[in-house]
């Protein structure tokens, strides 16, 4: 029963609220970088409410179940991840063996749901977008897993998120060490690709494939996808905070630090997004399998040396 409460209250409501605010911050900062005024605070919420009120169209020739089911699938997985993260963050005893691995697996499901939706919509542009998303998943998963390995090595091979947090609470954060900092850089780049933001937004490239995977979505399913993306904008930086920066502590001044850590991560992601052009998919694959993976391997070796 208590888990259901966690699932609804933390996994959905809190995450959605923070995610919507974060996506407003992202849009506002983008606007300010371009010397614009930017949207009002409630804009992300209004967008979603509006989409809920619109007609839902299913294209002819699309597989209806997969087309309408994919967004729910993605949203549910994001809720699950954020529940596990919040539970660990609130009480580090609330952990089970291997929850780090569960989180890593479930974090790929949003991408898979997007791929599924794209292919199910029987639109050639959506298929191009979905195949790009697939290549992107293949390219960033390896360095991401390697980067996550670094905290695991540091904490003496523990794959519980809760014990990573307790270790950091007593021995200092992992991002403070050389290997941890390298791994954090790698992980931020991978998160950029996981969120499909510029420079890695080729699955949705508005200017070349007109919205890509989401091209056929309208109304409620599109609202669910937007909500999922906004929630991911909270969940992924939160995951990085937990495994590299000691999580979000609610006692006294640590709460302020926690908020600053989160806003800092979102700001880094936004600045990367605003200062780079979109790369091609082959360049992205080369980038992730080349320099980023090498950096991640160096971080892992350094972590083994205890640096």
């Amino acid at each position: 029963m208590i888990y259901l409460l966690y699932f609804i209250l933390y996994g959905f409501f809190l995450t959605a609220v923070i995610g919507l605010v974060a996506s407003w911050i992202d849009r506002k900062v983008t606007a300010r970088v371009q010397y614009r005024v930017g949207p009002p605070v409630l804009q992300p919420l209004i967008d979603i409410v509006k989409l809920l009120g619109k007609e839902t169209l299913v294209p002819r020739g699309a597989s209806k179940a997969a087309f309408l089911g994919a967004p729910l699938f993605g949203l549910a997985s994001v809720m699950l991840v954020s529940t596990i993260l919040w539970m660990n963050n609130i009480n580090t005893q609330n952990t089970f063996l291997g929850d780090l691995i569960v989180v890593l697996y479930v974090l790929t499901i949003p991408s898979i749901s997007i791929i599924m939706g794209g292919f199910a919509s029987s639109n050639p542009l959506a298929s191009i977008g979905a195949s790009r998303e697939m290549k992107l998943v293949l390219s960033y998963e390896l360095p991401f897993v390697l980067a996550v390995l670094v905290p695991v090595i540091h904490s003496g091979f523990s794959i519980r998120i809760g014990s990573l947090l307790t270790y950091q609470a007593s021995n200092g954060v992992f991002a403070g060490s050389l290997s941890g900092a390298l791994a954090l850089i790698v992980a931020i780049l991978c998160v950029q690709a996981k969120l499909a933001l510029v420079p890695f937004d080729m699955p949705e490239a508005e200017t070349e494939i007109a919205g890509g995977v989401l091209i056929e979505y309208s109304g409620t399913p599109l609202a669910v996808y937007k909500l999922m993306k906004n929630m991911l904008l909270f969940v992924l930086p939160f995951f990085l905070m937990i495994i590299f920066m000691g999580g979000l502590r609610t006692d006294g001044i640590h709460l302020l630090y926690g908020v600053l850590k989160y806003v800092g991560l979102v700001a880094i992601i936004t600045v990367i997004r605003n200062t780079n052009p979109r790369v091609r998919i082959d360049q992205a694959v080369r980038f992730f399998w080349g320099p980023v993976t090498i950096l991640a391997i160096i971080a892992v070796i350094l972590a083994f040396k205890g640096l």
Binding site: I46, V49, K50, G53
Partner: protein, 141 residues
């Protein structure tokens, strides 16, 4: 006013369609997105796909080639969808009035909710037109 309409008016995503314009009106539409005018402060963004759009901005003189496509796009747009005619061409075919290729004006083909005159209309005029459209819908509801 219902919540649905309220939200629609606060976040109208626009899709822009050229039915044989001279491209000048289209450039003026894109000007509305630039820092100087910044329509994102009203929640408007340019949608890449018609399925995401709430407002269809039509420019150009509706020539025979594009009319069938335009009808299809209008049918594909999720309702409620508003149509705005931008520029002299879209309103009355302008200087192509006598052309063999432009038989009827836009509002004889699909229902138009707002007209923004000009050849091309200034970005200020386009924003003013959008505001008038919103006022009109508020009045109706």
């Amino acid at each position: 006013m219902s919540l649905k309409l309220k939200a629609l008016l606060k976040s109208p995503w626009v899709f822009h369609l050229s039915t044989g314009s001279c491209n000048n009106c289209d450039i003026e539409i894109l000007d509305c997105l630039t820092p100087r005018f910044d329509i994102e402060r009203f929640g408007m963004i340019l949608a890449g796909s018609i399925k995401h759009a709430d407002v269809l901005l039509v420019t150009g003189s509706c020539n025979r080639q594009s009319v069938t496509r335009m009808k299809r796009l209008y049918e594909q747009a999720p309702k409620p969808c508003l149509v705005v005619a931008i520029g002299e061409c879209a309103m009355s075919r302008g200087m192509f009035m006598q052309s063999y290729n432009c038989p009827v004006p836009l509002d004889k083909i699909i229902p138009v909710d707002a007209y923004i005159p000009g050849c091309p209309p200034k970005p200020e005029a386009i924003i003013a037109g959008a505001v008038k459209l919103i006022e009109k819908l508020k009045g109706n509801a």
